[in-house]
Symmetry: C2
Subunit: 200 residues, 2 copies
DNA sequence: GGCGCGATGTATCGGCCCGATACATCGCTA
DNA sequence: TAGCGATGTATCGGGCCGATACATCGCGCC
């Protein structure tokens, strides 16, 4: 999961660890608070050992001069890394549909084909519908033996599930008709070209 | 966190591991999918080693006869365990306000005093408000360099944050006026006595 | 009668990921 | 010049999960 997020960001731009963490936080927003360094650096080493990313030579365009001494390490993705990323993006297991997994997949939907997007959206919907049914069962069947606070928690969770299902349904409808997600306020730039495009 | 959930459930009723897992799933609903056995059994041993729970003698009221052989192990909470639980319930650190932590605390609000409830609800609100501001910043500042799908993800997250803040605000208002959470549909049984009360 | 299969039940192992911590440099301000 | 916050890399312990193994019970199906 982390592998995918890191490879995806490096595909858009070479980066060093610290920057990666910040980008990840803004790109994944709510889904993933902010990746911890205790995960990030070991993961970078693992990805490098697998041949999916490489350390970039000492970048001459280091804006803050950083007078030598164990400075920032800039990573960039390799050809194998791009293959691996595409593979991760397209494949969908059970973990693809829980919060973290779905969030990462969704964040990189712009790099996926429509069939995969549809498959993942529908899988996520199924997952949330199951959760929703579970909550309804609890509220109707076990409701009377739970206290008011617990009930309120379930009701709030149920509400969130119902909203998410509606959200997913809208997305699925749009997807089927070939439209990109509607962006009220940016309707004049529907196919916004991303400034951070692949580096050759 | 897990400690608290397990101690809380055992305070309501002695149970064995499997049952504990199911109860946890229904009580915590969305917040916590279902605790894994890989966590549950080691945790039970740890709690027992700490003296907070004990193995109950072979219960004669085993409904399914379970003809001997390493049968179910029924745990019950000790006096020290109850103290520990009260301590965990009342104390609030940063982890109290993220999703899992808040969910567990909230699920046992019926066992907390009003001051603690208020403190935790306000802490959670602050946390979500920060998240919300972060998302607003991203949408307004970094919006133009993100693709439509990523934007949609942020918007959905922002919406969820706004809803949760409103929910928390309602709860805080109720709490301040001394009311329990309103339960539409069960208004006739506001102070539902819980059948699973403490065992002496 | 017997057979499998799903629910009940306890337990372990590898691995992902987090929080705390340490250390070093840079730029700003007091 | 001294401190402080942002930038930056790195490690360690621990919590929790998913997969797996093993054993018993009740049920339906042929």
């Amino acid at each position: 999961m982390l592998d995918m997020a890191i490879l995806g960001l490096l595909q858009e731009n070479p980066m060093h660890g610290y920057e990666l963490r910040k980008e990840l936080a803004t790109k994944l927003g709510t889904i993933r608070a902010a990746i911890s360094y205790g995960t990030l650096y070991p993961t970078l080493k693992r990805l490098q050992a697998a041949g999916w990313i490489t350390e970039s030579e000492a970048d001459p365009s280091m804006i803050p001069p950083m007078t030598s001494k164990r400075g920032r390490v800039i990573y960039k993705i390799t050809a194998e890394g791009k293959e691996r990323f595409a593979e991760l993006l397209a494949q969908a297991g059970p973990e693809t549909y829980d919060d973290a997994g779905f969030g990462v997949h969704f964040a990189f939907f712009a790099r996926t084909d429509q069939a995969t997007r549809l498959r993942i959206l529908e899988g996520r919907r199924r997952r949330i519908e199951e959760r929703r049914e579970g909550l309804r069962d609890v509220l109707s069947r076990a409701g009377e033996r739970l206290d008011a606070y617990t009930l309120e928690l379930q009701r709030h969770g149920l509400d969130a599930c119902e909203r998410e299902v509606r959200w997913l349904e809208e997305l699925i409808t749009n997807e089927r008709s070939g439209r990109a997600p509607e962006t009220p306020g940016t309707l004049n730039t529907p196919q916004t070209p991303r400034p951070h495009e692949d580096r050759p």
